[in-house]
């Protein structure tokens, strides 16, 4: 034996070598020959030997055998070959000489080829290939035939249509399927004993015409024939028939459809179409429920029908009756108006999501009394609810009823889903709109035209703060209306960044109806579609909070600085007076006293600062002229050595909340105190700002040394100054007052002498 290991023939598929490989059975008496052949073939084929097994137990595609084995196994070989039919199982006889041809003639009945040995390897391979190809083809054909037969049988038996096979020559029904028996109300035996003409007794002529047409054309279709059933009922039929040849004779294979119900169904479907239109017109789930129930009643004739809607507002969630036919009213004491999910037939069907037909509610074990309702059909409407239909007789609903009801249910579900989506959208739009209209921030809806933000809409708060009429500014460039000239570059950068689709947040000053204010600005870009590009710009007024935080910071810093300094003096003086042998010079004692005075003054300043935003009860606008007069009088009293004058060329009013008196006093006192001239001079004037109708300019000019840089930055920008300078709060006070008023500050130091400080303020109408 060679070292070739035959595989287990039973594990045909899972064999290690070549899956699905061709198996060649070697039936050779001579071991040497067998080993030799096995070695040859094992490259291409899977070689199988009989060993001690019976021939029937071995699976193979081809058998190579010699004369001795042929003789020993003749009968068996014959049987195996027959069993394989119609698939061809080739036998190749190996013979030492051609004399084997003289063997018994019956040998050739199952030996398919012979090859003489010693054989050429190539010749052997050619033979094997030919035989195996024949086997493959025969197998293919056999399989195809089997499949066709199987297919036909299945079609015949399992078709929804009734099918009969008519032998026109004998005028008999040769075969029929169970559906034909059902349709025609005959048993198979009865049908096979009838003539097809018996089924169309009233339309004999028509049937014959149809029969001839089919035989002539090979096929035919008619909806003209009716069939009389075994119970004498007339069935509207639609017959489709083909001519087939069986046993060499023409036959007619006819499939018959009962269109009696289909005619009805078509009417139902047409009505359903109208219902669907109604469903799509309904805007709420409640309306859809009503349309659905009405359709169940009028289209299907179901008197007891109801739709329950899934309610999440209750705990546990329930199905609540939303619409019902009038007949339900009479059953309502028994038909619960509310079910929990999974409760009863209705709750169950909803929970499972599958439609349910119950033929007899009485036979079910259920905790509910369904009263006179015996049958039920429940079809879930997605997650929205459930359509349930009842009947007082049992077994009222079948699959056809269910299918049609499902069409209604599917449409109702789609309508409810749409209604819900629309409802959500509507609510979202409404809340968005409410947000826009009622926001305490100013909001502008802009679109970008030529990369420039143009106003599409503004909210009422914007109208109020910036003083524009909503209707009049649509389409206007936003920047033109609210961006101060010196903030233009910054505003353009903002627009550019928003255009690139980024959400932008920044702090900037904007020109409001009451002057400049600080805003936290958020730009939220919005893509409406490819061509339309816009943004929501939201302005939050942070003027007060910004000033308050600045105030807190400055107060904290200045107060702590001053308190530490002054208290250090007081502490030192007092400490020394208690120590023996150490004296306190009078000058130092006086300085200690001055320090306490200054501390008290500081407290007063701090108190005034903390109250400066308190709204005043009196809303009467302040006359600027009066304020200047008061200031001049006060200064004349407190600083008799100074020369204070005023010039007012316009009579204007400002909001009552502006602490103009204090601002003017602080500015003038600062000028007088820092003046290095023997007679400090201060002149206050007021005039209209050119090209800014509702603004006035208040100017304080002095003859001092010019205001130092660090104090300028406090006044002009409200900026945190260097740590080392400025102990006072006076100039901060001025800055804050002007900021709150929405005004602006400017400082000029003319070359010759002094400082010119200008306060710009928005004016209001005097109270009439």
């Amino acid at each position: 034996m060679s070292d070739y290991q035959p595989r287990n023939p039973l594990s045909n598929i899972t064999s290690g070598g070549r899956p699905g490989s061709t198996r060649v059975l070697l039936l050779l008496q001579n071991d040497t020959n067998r080993d030799h052949l096995a070695t040859w073939l094992s490259d291409t084929y899977e070689v199988v030997t009989l060993d001690d097994r019976a021939l029937e137990g071995v699976e193979f595609d081809l058998c190579i055998l010699d004369g001795a084995m042929l003789e020993r196994h003749t009968d068996r070989l014959q049987q195996v070959k027959d069993a394989a039919a119609p698939t061809f199982l080739p036998y190749l006889l190996v013979s030492p000489n051609r004399t084997d041809r003289e063997r018994g003639t019956n040998v050739w009945e199952f030996v398919d080829e012979m090859i003489s040995i010693p054989a050429d390897k190539q010749a052997l391979e050619n033979r094997l290939r030919n035989l195996l190809e024949r086997r493959r083809l025969s197998h293919q054909q056999a399989t195809a035939l089997t499949r066709q037969r199987e297919l036909f049988r299945r079609l015949f038996e399992s078709s929804n249509d009734a099918i009969i096979l008519v032998d026109p020559q004998q005028n008999t029904i040769r075969e029929c399927n169970p559906q034909a028996c059902d349709l025609l109300s005959y048993s198979r035996q009865e049908l096979l004993s009838l003539s097809p003409e018996d089924i169309h007794p009233d339309e004999m002529a028509e049937f014959r015409t149809f029969r001839e047409t089919v035989l002539e054309n090979g096929h035919g279709w008619t909806a003209e024939l009716t069939c009389q059933t075994g119970t004498g009922r007339q069935v509207d039929a639609e017959i489709s028939a083909s001519a087939v040849e069986i046993d060499g004779r023409p036959h007619i294979l006819a499939s018959i459809r009962d269109v009696t119900t289909r005619t009805e169904q078509r009417e139902v479907l047409n009505s359903l179409h109208d219902v669907t239109v109604g469903l799509m017109d309904a805007t709420t789930k409640q309306d859809i429920a009503s349309v659905t129930v009405e359709a169940a009643r009028s289209v299907f004739g179901y008197d007891i029908a109801g739709v329950r809607l899934h309610t999440v507002d209750t705990a546990p969630e329930t199905l609540q009756l939303a619409a019902a036919t009038p007949a339900v009213e009479t059953h309502l004491d028994v038909a619960k108006s509310e079910y929990e999910i999974g409760e009863g037939v209705v709750g169950d069907a909803f929970a499972s999501g599958e439609p349910v037909i119950v033929d007899d509610l009485q036979s079910r074990k259920t905790p509910f009394d369904y009263g006179s309702i015996r049958s039920a059909m429940c079809v879930p409407l997605g997650a929205h609810g459930i359509l349930s239909i009842g009947a007082t007789e049992s077994g009222a609903f079948d699959e056809t009823n269910l299918k049609l009801t499902q069409i209604l249910a599917t449409n109702a579900t789609a309508a409810m889903t749409r209604a819900q989506r629309e409802q959500t959208l509507r609510e979202r739009n409404e809340s968005l709109s409410a947000l826009f209209e009622n926001a305490t921030d100013c909001i502008v809806d802009v679109e970008f035209v030529d990369e420039e933000p143009r106003i599409r809409d503004v909210n009422p708060r914007f109208e109020q703060v910036f003083g524009y009429d909503r209707a009049k500014i649509r389409g206007e460039p936003l920047s033109d209306l609210i961006v101060p000239a010196d903030e233009n570059t910054e505003s353009q950068r903002l627009a550019e960044r928003a255009l690139s689709g980024n959400r932008v947040e920044t702090e900037a000053r904007r020109e409001t109806a009451t002057g400049r204010r600080d805003f936290f600005i958020r730009v939220v870009p919005i893509h409406k579609d490819d061509t339309e590009y816009g943004a929501f710009v939201v302005y939050t007024d942070i003027t007060d909070s910004k000033r308050r935080s600045q105030q807190l910071q400055v107060l904290n810093r200045v107060l702590r600085h001053n308190i530490r300094n002054k208290l250090n003096i007081v502490q030192g003086v007092l400490g020394r007076t208690l120590e023996d042998g150490k004296d306190v010079p009078d000058t130092l004692a006086k300085e200690g006293l001055t320090a306490t005075d200054e501390l008290l003054k500081l407290c007063q300043t701090a108190r005034e600062l903390s109250t400066d935003t308190r709204p005043e009860n009196d809303e009467t606008p302040i006359s600027v002229g009066d304020s200047i007069t008061r200031t001049v009088e006060l200064l004349a009293q407190n600083h008799p050595d100074a020369k204070v004058s005023s010039e007012v060329t316009t009579e204007r009013w400002i909001q009552s909340t502006v602490q103009l008196d204090r601002a003017l006093r602080e500015v003038c006192e600062n000028a007088i105190e820092h003046c290095d001239q023997s007679t400090p001079e201060v002149e206050i004037s007021c005039e209209q700002v050119p090209e800014r109708e509702n603004w006035i300019a208040l100017t304080v000019a002095d003859n001092g040394p010019g205001i130092p840089e660090e104090q300028r930055s406090i006044l002009e920008k409200g900026e945190e100054t260097d740590l080392e300078h400025s102990n006072g709060l006076g100039l901060w006070t001025v800055q804050w007052i002007v900021t709150i008023a929405g005004g602006e500050l400017a400082i000029e130091t003319p070359e010759d002498r002094g400082t010119v400080l200008t306060i710009l303020l928005p004016t209001v109408q005097p109270k009439s």
Partner: protein
């Protein structure tokens, strides 16, 4: 502002603060054992500053010239005496980069102030000793670099330098020891 009340040996302190009462109080604190000069603004301080001043106490927050500006100007003019900032403002990180020797937050009492000035004076002293030691070392190194070993051994001047270097080192070490006993931060000062 007051005229220098120098005694030949005493440590001279310049006090600068725009808060007049405070300047005068600090001067009073240092009355015993120190010579003091006072200035109520930065410009005056620069006017009365000279080499005789050993320690400067400088207020940081002043109108006009600020303490920071005065300090910059002092250093620019070549004054390298120890400077302590006295301030009523909490220090920020900026003091790390300032060329000062200490930072005191007001209020400061008498003992605190005297101790501060004393430490700074010692530091000034140490600086002096160290500078001398370094000067001798430099000269010695210069000779070593320019003369052959044989000549050095025979040079009287070099022999004397070696002795001076040894003495200067001892002086500097002592000054440093004295300093570190009272001033824990001295070890990190610009060495």
């Amino acid at each position: 502002m007051s005229e220098p009340t120098t005694t030949s040996d005493s440590v001279s302190v310049l006090i600068v603060d725009d808060e007049q009462g405070l300047t005068d109080l600090y001067a009073l604190y240092l009355e015993e054992g120190y010579a003091t000069r006072t200035a109520y603004d930065g410009e005056t301080a620069l006017d009365i500053m000279d080499e005789d001043v050993d320690v400067v106490l400088l207020d940081r927050r002043m109108p006009g010239m600020s303490g920071d500006e005065v300090l910059t100007e002092l250093r620019a003019q070549g004054f390298d005496q120890p400077v302590a900032m006295l301030t009523a403002v909490d220090p920020g990180e900026d003091i790390l980069t300032m060329d000062i020797d200490d930072y005191f937050v007001k209020p400061i009492d008498e003992d605190e102030l005297r101790e501060a000035v004393d430490t700074l004076a010692k530091r000034a002293q140490y600086d002096e000793e160290f500078r001398e030691y370094f000067a001798v070392i430099s000269k010695k190194a210069a000779m070593e670099a320019n003369l052959p070993e044989q000549d050095l051994a025979e040079s009287d001047a070099y022999q004397q330098l070696e002795q001076e270097a040894e003495a200067a080192k001892i002086d500097a070490d002592n000054a440093f020891k004295e300093l570190t006993e009272t001033d824990s931060t001295a070890g990190f000062r610009g060495l």
